[in-house]
Symmetry: D2
Subunit: 288 residues, 4 copies
């Protein structure tokens, strides 16, 4: 029935399925990890066809994921790319395909004192295939960190000037600090590699401080001191990420797209503060 | 501190606040209703300025919402527009402003038997102001309805042909049906009006059947029969909405943007089916 | 069909509907406010009856809410109580009824500098009616505030002793602080009144500092200083609430149930800290 | 600081951390699977102690999860139990400990046509340890399935009696059907085993039909027909689960607690239908 011809239909931009859950085997350096993925896939639909064959989407996902059992993919963006390419093959009427994958992810980190911990992150990957127009892959990460407000720190210091004279240089002052969620989404151009682990490292260096699952007393103080020595607005966090992305990926093509978002769950407000840059490496190189 | 000059900064696309909650007085025909709004607002930030003055965003929202107490706005898109215009005024460094508002909404409907009920919906409004480039307003609705699958209905009928010969004309056959969430987001060009109530009516006519809070036994059967007499894929739901939007708003300018989305919480799967069209009235008039 | 007799059924503890949305008129002192309520209602079902008449639940809700148009209730717990009583009347087979209502709520507050703002909260109400065993009403609030960690503050001070000698008395030291969500749920015994506004005031006084929608620079500093002068664990927040509840409601019967929960969205961790007390006023009076 | 003595404190029922994420190795028959777990843990706190040592909670979780690398647990309830036991050991002041674990889970199923698919579920586990009062373990599952309404089916048939005479026996009539989420939470008494896989099988047999990720046309019709041959209210779903639980676990002690919940995302309404039984095997054996 989906294949039936329509005479007065409209084309549809995206038709597909959302929220398909799959365990996927992924190669991370020397080990294979299992990622529990949530997958959305779409293709376009011409105006003269009644419906898209949705079951084919599930078959494509299932086939591609099964292949990972014998040959684990090296990254979720490659998995997304393979799914998108196969979506176009299976939906012969489609000229556009899109797949979006998200998954929880874990990485070993080192707390300021040198102890190892396991921290949790979110991975995102996306691939768009346009018939005759090439494949575009994206890899992304969502990272939780900490921001300390530089403005309140300065205002508090000003208010306490009488008490605090001559101490400005060495006493980082009190301020509000909070949980921040930063997202980096970056295109992976053909013949180039962008490692999610590197994006996580970039993001964690761009907070006032990264956060950790277990902190003993002295380590907790170290994190607090680090955050107060690096007070940052959400705007600063986004810019610090952009600077590091430019340093790390300056060799990638100018039209490589980059999105950085940072959202602070303000401790002094009930709402969140937010900053975002949607750009290309070329624009960033132009120092804009 | 936010106003400080930077020499090697990057411009930021959007800086602002998310999740501000406000009760707003809105004029709906002859009565004033209270909408509990969740509001996000953003402006851009030039590369040479350290931070955006976030507290100004809250002041703008608060001022504009307070004005509604004495002069209720006629629609959320007008509220969003006023906020966006004032954001640009208050952030003198900004060239772009954006505001997004969502709210629960209630409307009296009539069940097939003629009884009145109160049904719940979600309203969305958005306004973008670009310095020297005009203001763009959007109004949107999110509506819950019901879809019955035409494909399974046909397959079941084929399977039961022996039993059901000669009855095809008058017996709508069994199929899976489910809760569907449809979203319409439409630009409101200057000097034109797009009523959220009309969009809700368009969406409810485009399901297999609308849904209702209270259904007595016979009414429940009527809804079930109506849905089975109008079996629809998510693709069909989106196209039915596009057809009605074109009929109702054919007089609006060709560049008026329209997005229609439909997501079915499939009763036979654990995942959802999804269809979307992002377009303009001009493209729709071209029957594409 | 629901009324049919079963011979080998099981009784069911709760059967009903969840997520019914309704605008409700409520009397708050001298004004009538509209609350957008989400309502769940349940009754029990005897083992020998096939089904509960779910449409009656919707009729009860609708009737009771409609009555609020002419005679607004004074509190959501009264609305919940009226619904629960009517549920038992309409479901003649039921011996237990329960209704739960939640709603966004707004209240004028005063920032430390004396300026007025409008802050958002969540209200909860619950009523259980047991045939022949009386009606029990609960009112609750969910409030966002700020906590500053006393332990990290002390550790930082210890680490910096060399630098900070003699300053301990007047310099609150840096620490991590964060958004905290506190919930109070309290029984309202017959012939007594518990005002949601009072519970909000109790909770806001029990944080390190309340939070505000709009803060000008100096006000932001005042909030930060206040929070650092009142460093609190989640444990401290719960106990501070219990102390104030006991002061305010010591005259209520000993078997009045009270639950206080506090959850801090830790700025130095990706997980939350949590503390809870489920108790009665009698136990609290016994200083346990 | 947490260990400091208080003179007028209140005891706290539960103090701990929520939302800790961990990959865990679990033995499922002949293979080891990775479950991405979200973990909440709590202990009580005496009235004379200022705070609970929250970092110990993280150390306990981390230690116990690390042990799974060399010796995978056989079930999440055993993991929860080991965590709860160790929480009491590490918090020497505590008399109560509680741990709650949830995880996505996948299982191979067979569609009506005999083809194999991989379906997704949610696991839950819980363990409470009371000093001197023994350990209590719970295992639970959350399963998505399909319900078809028996009442609307009958009403439709009655309405169409003229047309449908003599066909009642073999034509299941049209009705509304929808996605249903059923939860079973069951105690695992000492020396007994309750397999999550068995609970999933019980739940899937208790729907009108289980649901599947991939369904080819004929299989889709089979699922639709199966659902219409087994029309069920949420009440029926809960009772069918209770019946199967009693059959399977009748040998377990009478005081074994069982909770079954079923929630239907009604296709004809915007709200959900819900039924629940909280009980013990003993009560069920008494046919109540």
């Amino acid at each position: 029935m989906q294949g039936r011809k329509l005479t007065n239909g409209f084309m549809l931009s995206r038709v597909g399925v959302k929220g398909v859950k799959k365990p996927v085997q992924v190669n991370r350096g020397d080990r294979t990890v299992t990622l529990i993925c949530t997958i959305d896939v779409f293709v376009d639909l011409p105006s003269d066809q009644k419906g898209s064959h949705l079951s084919r989407n599930l078959e494509v996902i299932s086939d591609v994921v099964d292949q990972c059992l014998s040959a684990p993919v090296s990254g979720l963006e490659d998995l997304a790319a393979t799914i998108s390419v196969n979506l176009l093959k299976r939906h012969e009427y489609a000229t556009y395909s899109e797949s979006i994958i998200t998954a929880e992810y874990f990485l070993e980190r080192t707390v300021p004192s040198g102890r190892k911990t396991m921290e949790s992150y979110k991975l995102m990957a996306m691939a768009v295939d346009r018939q005759g127009n090439g494949l575009k892959k994206m890899i992304g990460v969502e990272i939780i960190g900490m921001t300390a407000c530089p403005c309140a720190m300065e205002t508090v210091r000003d208010l306490q000037k009488g008490n605090l004279r001559n101490r400005d240089e060495f006493v980082p002052n009190i301020t509000h600090n909070q949980r921040n969620v930063t997202t980096i989404l970056m295109e992976v151009p053909e013949n180039f590699t962008v490692e999610a682990n590197d994006l996580i490292e970039i993001a964690e260096k761009s907070f006032s401080s990264p956060t950790f699952e277990i902190l003993k007393r002295a380590e907790e103080a170290q994190v607090v001191i680090l955050a107060h020595e690096n007070p940052k607005f959400v705007e600063d966090v986004v810019r610090a990420n952009l600077t590091r992305i430019l340093e790390k990926y300056g060799d990638l093509p100018d039209d490589t797209t980059v999105t950085v978002r940072s959202e602070s769950q303000e401790s002094i407000h009930k709402h969140n503060a937010f900053a975002e840059r949607v750009t290309t490496l070329g624009e960033l190189k132009g120092n804009d």
